[in-house]
Structure formats: structure tokens, C-alpha cells
């Protein structure tokens, strides 16, 4: 269709290329039908929905505590942020106040998850530029983050970490040790990676000026997170609406200038350094206290109590069966996900499952700008732009 219209306009013959859904550079599965003039992209049209999994419908049929594992699979590169965003949303609805220690523990985990996510994005950007080796160096550090997650919750990627009200268990000695090791190891490895890639002129030439964006346009397209900050606007949910005691930590908001791929890359890099510093601060200031809020109606009692105490047994059954009273109401809570503002709009009618749960998925909203961003550039740029936007298929299609 497009081809024929354009043909009429210019009298030239354009070429149509189908970029995706199984193209190697589309990591997940995005389809873009490109109308090309040689290597130049004249028009692009994105198709999404190739892994639409009906999260929102699924969430209407699952009790609150079973939704945590579903949120894992939204942005699977940084599952803990989703988990905790969801838990905080429910806590907001229930009016649960979490202890400071829980907040700090959450901050540590979320920042680790952010590093894990940005590591993927930045190293894959280099891979798409053709430099594979940096990816393998930095991925070893990601394995370390996996180990930390595994020692807390027992899984590497889809963590299902934390519970409504706090954590399922306290961090063990081993976990603290792993985190400390990570804090000393990661900066070294990351510095090495940065000196391998950051100032390499080939890499800079490839990324500077590809997929630029103005802040006004970005805002209009609903960009958030690093992609918005790369354009120069310092919107960060952690600062604007601090959750989980983020106001206690001192960190800057890295911003870019032109909103091109290099800006996005550098903003993510700087955010990783910030995350390291936040984790360090949280470790230093870690308060004493319980690792979960005292809410017997929502937080499972310890197993010993279930056998011995009637009250605990009743709560146990009620929580598992999803029969605890949930207030009627609606609540929107957002966290700074690795790719932007990850929002949860939860409507409860007091039943065992949410009446409606809508996820504000930053990738989904940002990705609609992609087709416009690559028009007029060349095929190689389109691929770089896609990588640097860090679109995660799970989050895109929900």
C-alpha cells in the first residue's frame, strides 16, 4: 500500500524489507516493514503483539500473591523491579507501612536489577555494532547478580522476589558477602568495558546522531526513563515521587543532550555508576529491624506457627485461598523501571483477585516512536536505534 502511494509521489521504485520478526537484531520479536530506497529507510511501520500473553486478563484471574510471578515476565531483564513495584502497589492499596530495613533491602535489589538490565542493553548495543567481546566480559558480572538473586529467592532470572509486606526471608551472610564482592568487582570490570567501547571512534560514529529525539517530542511520545533522560529532561520517578525511601539516598540524574543512541548509552552507563553508589549508601545505612511488615493478614506466618498457633493457621489458609479482606478502591503506583516509569493501575472490588490491573509498560509506549525515529536513516542505524532504546518484548506486548 505504502509502496504504491510513494511510487505515485516520486515515481521511483522502492524496496520493501521485512525487518523481523525473527531478525537477529530484534532480540525479542518486533516486526518492522521498511520501505527502502537502497539502504535508506523511507517509511517504517511497526507491528507488535508477537508475544502478547494477556497479562492483564491473567491478572484478573489470579489472587494478589500469584501476580508477583506474572510480573516477573514483564521486563524479564529486571524482574525484581517489577516484583517490587507490584508489591508496593498492593501495599499502597492495603495501607501497609513497610519498615525502613525492607525499604533499604528493596533499594539494593532494585538497583542491582537496574544494573543487570542496563548491562544487557549496553552490551547488546555493542554486539549490534559488531563488538561481541565486551558483552562476554560484562555478562560475567551479570552472572554475579544472578547469584545474589539466587541466594535470596532461589531463582536467577524470574525471581518472584519479595512478598507483599516485605521479603520472604532475610538476606543471609552469603548474600551480603556476594553483594560486597559485587561492589568491588563490578566497577573494575565495568571500567574495563567502558574503556573498550565508550571512546572508540567507530562506536561513537555509529551511535552519535542515530535516532535523535528532542525532549518535547519525547514527552509527547510518552518516553520515560533513560530514553527520556537522554534527551535532556531529568524526569526520574525515584526523585519525583520517591518510593521505598529513595529520598534517603544521594544521587544525581544523568542526562544527555540530543537524545541519540550514544546519549542513551551514556545515560545508562552513568546510571549504573549511580546504582553502585546507591547500593553502597544503602549498605552503609542499613537499619536494624524486621525484614517484613507486621501484617498477619497478608504476610504468611512462619511455618512453625502454622502448626502450633490457631491464629496463624487461619491466616495461612486465608492468604493462600485469597480470602483476606482487600479494600475496595483504585490505586496507581509507579516505580522507575529500568526502561522508564513502570506503572500499576490496580482497581479492586474487594474480591480475591484484582478487578482490573493495568500495567503502564514504558517499552510499549516508547516503541511507537521507533518507526518515526528511523525514517530517513539507514538500515544499520535502525538496528542501533532499536538496541539503544532497549525494548523488551515481554514488556512491549504484555
Amino acid at each position: 500500500m505504502i509502496e504504491s502511494i510513494n511510487d505515485k509521489i516520486s515515481g521511483e521504485n522502492y524496496n520493501t524489507i521485512n525487518l523481523g520478526p525473527t531478525h537477529p537484531a530484534t532480540h525479542g520479536i518486533f516486526q518492522n516493514v521498511l520501505t527502502m530506497d537502497g539502504e535508506k529507510i523511507i517509511h517504517a511501520e511497526s507491528t507488535v503483539g508477537y508475544i502478547h500473553r494477556a497479562f492483564e486478563k491473567l491478572a484478573e484471574r489470579r489472587p494478589y500473591n500469584q501476580i508477583t510471578p506474572i510480573t516477573d515476565r514483564l521486563n524479564y531483564c529486571s524482574a525484581p523491579i517489577n516484583n517490587m513495584g507490584w508489591e508496593m502497589t498492593v501495599e499502597k492499596l492495603l495501607g501497609v507501612q513497610t519498615p525502613k530495613k525492607v525499604d533499604y533491602m528493596r533499594v539494593i535489589i532494585m538497583e542491582l536489577a537496574r544494573i543487570a538490565d542496563h548491562v544487557i542493553c549496553n552490551s547488546i548495543l555493542a554486539v549490534d555494532c559488531g563488538a561481541l567481546t565486551g558483552f562476554t566480559y560484562i555478562f560475567q558480572q551479570r552472572e554475579k547478580i544472578y547469584e545474589i538473586f539466587e541466594s535470596i529467592c532461589g531463582a536467577r532470572l524470574t525471581t518472584n522476589i519479595g512478598r507483599i509486606g516485605g521479603f520472604e526471608r532475610d538476606f543471609s551472610e552469603q548474600t551480603w558477602k556476594l553483594i560486597k564482592d559485587f561492589l568491588t568487582e563490578f566497577p573494575k570490570a565495568f571500567r574495563e568495558y567502558e574503556s573498550l567501547v565508550n571512546r572508540n571512534r567507530i562506536f561513537m560514529d555509529r551511535t552519535i546522531g542515530t535516532g535523535p529525539m528532542t525532549p518535547e517530542n519525547a514527552l509527547n511520545y510518552g518516553f520515560t526513563g533513560p530514553n527520556l533522560r537522554a534527551t535532556g529532561l531529568d524526569y526520574d520517578v525515584r526523585v519525583m515521587n520517591p518510593y521505598s525511601s529513595y529520598q534517603d539516598f544521594d544521587f544525581t540524574i544523568p542526562v544527555g543532550k540530543q537524545g541519540d543512541s550514544y546519549d542513551r548509552y551514556m545515560v545508562r552507563s552513568a546510571e549504573m555508576w549511580n546504582s553502585i553508589s546507591i547500593i553502597q549508601q544503602a549498605m552503609n545505612k542499613m537499619p536494624e529491624g524486621p525484614y517484613h511488615a507486621d501484617v498477619p493478614e497478608f504476610y504468611l506466618p512462619p511455618k512453625e506457627d502454622v502448626y502450633t498457633k490457631m491464629e496463624a493457621l487461619i491466616y495461612h489458609f486465608k492468604i493462600i485461598m485469597g480470602e483476606t479482606k482487600v479494600p475496595i478502591g483504585e490505586v496507581y503506583h509507579s516505580v522507575e523501571g529500568a526502561n522508564g516509569e513502570l506503572g500499576f493501575y490496580l482497581v479492586s472490588d474487594g474480591g480475591r483477585t484484582p478487578y482490573r490491573l493495568h500495567f503502564r509498560r514504558p517499552c510499549f509506549i516508547a516503541y511507537q516512536a521507533y518507526a518515526k525515529m528511523i525514517e530517513g536513516s539507514v538500515l544499520s542505524d535502525a538496528i542501533i536505534t532499536m538496541s539503544s532504546l532497549n525494548i523488551i518484548a515481554g514488556e512491549l506486548d504484555a
Binding site: 520478526p21 525473527t22 531478525h23 537477529p24 532480540h27 525479542g28 520479536i29 503483539g49 508477537y50 508475544i51 502478547h52 500473553r53 494477556a54 486478563k57 491473567l58 510471578p69 506474572i70 516477573d72 515476565r73 524479564y76 531483564c77 544487557i120 558483552f135 562476554t136 566480559y137 555478562f139 560475567q140 551479570r142 552472572e143 544472578y146 536467577r156 532470572l157 524470574t158 518484548a393 515481554g394 506486548d397
Partner: protein, 183 residues
């Protein structure tokens, strides 16, 4: 689609005397070569794809099995690794990719979603890719650990090593493909 899921005879090398499944010595030699040179086509759609990256990266290094040359062109691939949720919209694409692959070809379903739909028993998700293409090895887990993915690869290697060259021309195999509507 709509194929009875119980048709999974690909994997079962039943004793079939002549020109059948059992490998002869030439078959063995070729099998040995093939199994050490599996070029996977990663059809990574979601979470499992990230674990696949971990499998390819330094810590687990799938290259040790001779399987590190990812060939994104289906023509050159030996092993289709489907990793992640396959929605009904994606189903035909998987089948298309499978059709484009050159014989001999194998399929691994990595992870709960690809194998059975996993947690996503929903209107939009294909309940296991064996509804559109024949699957040789299933890898459970959501997502599977790299160890499990390597395990799956080694199972495929076993399968390849013990397979007759002519199995692909055997009536059983043709019947299997026919049951998926593949000529």
C-alpha cells in the same frame, strides 16, 4: 494447528530393522560429525532468550559443544531452539522458519512457555510449539538454567549421534511431518 499432541514419534528411535532407525557405522561417523557441529538458530522471544545469552556467554560457553556459531538464517541452521512464549500470532512464523530449514533439522523447545504455554494458559498463547512443529527435546524450567539448556543440547547430541541417515526418508518421519501439514 489442531494436531493431536500425542504424536511425538520423532524422538523415539523404535527398533526398525533395515533402512530404519538404527544407525550403521557410516551413520555413526556422520552422526558423530553432525552432533559436534550443531548450528543453532535461536528463536528467542522472551525470558528464556536471556538465559540463552547466559548459556552462550563465558560462564557456561555452549561453544564447547561446537554449537556457538549462531546462524540466524534458517537455511544454515541445524537446530531450531525455540525459547520463550510463542503466541498464536507467532505460531505461523515458527512453522515458516521450520519449513525454511534444511534437513536434517531438529527442534528444541526451551522453557515452559515454548513447551506447553507454561503459566500463560491464555487466549493468545499457543499451548506448546508441538502444535505447529515437531519437537525433539523439551527443556523444562521457567526459564531453564543454562545447565538445563546445555542438558537439552546434549540430549539432542545423543539423538543425532544415534540416528540413521535415512531416518529422514523413513515413512514414520514423513507421517509425522504430514501430521503437521508439512510436505
Amino acid at each position: 494447528m489442531g494436531v493431536d499432541t500425542k504424536v511425538t514419534i520423532v524422538a523415539a528411535p523404535e527398533g526398525h530393522s533395515e533402512a530404519g532407525f538404527f544407525a550403521t557405522s557410516l551413520d555413526k561417523a556422520v552422526g558423530l560429525a553432525r552432533k559436534n557441529s550443531i548450528w543453532p538458530l535461536p528463536f528467542a522471544t522472551s525470558c528464556c532468550g536471556i538465559e540463552f545469552m547466559a548459556t552462550m556467554a563465558s560462564n557456561y560457553d555452549m561453544a564447547r559443544f561446537g554449537a556457538e556459531r549462531l546462524s540466524f538464517s534458517p537455511r544454515q541452521a541445524d537446530l531450531l531452539m525455540v525459547m520463550g512464549t510463542i503466541s498464536k500470532k507467532m505460531g505461523p512464523v515458527v512453522k515458516q522458519v521450520y519449513l525454511q530449514m534444511a534437513e536434517p533439522r531438529w527442534v528444541i523447545a526451551v522453557g515452559a512457555c515454548a513447551s506447553s504455554g507454561g503459566i500463560f494458559d491464555t487466549y493468545s498463547v499457543l499451548q506448546g510449539i508441538d502444535k505447529v512443529v515437531p519437537v525433539d527435546v523439551y527443556v523444562p524450567g521457567c526459564p531453564p538454567r543454562p545447565e538445563q539448556i546445555i542438558d537439552g543440547l546434549m540430549r539432542i547430541q545423543d539423538l543425532i549421534g544415534n540416528e540413521s541417515l535415512r531416518r529422514r526418508n523413513s515413512p514414520e518421519y514423513k507421517a509425522l511431518l504430514a501430521s503437521y501439514g508439512i510436505e
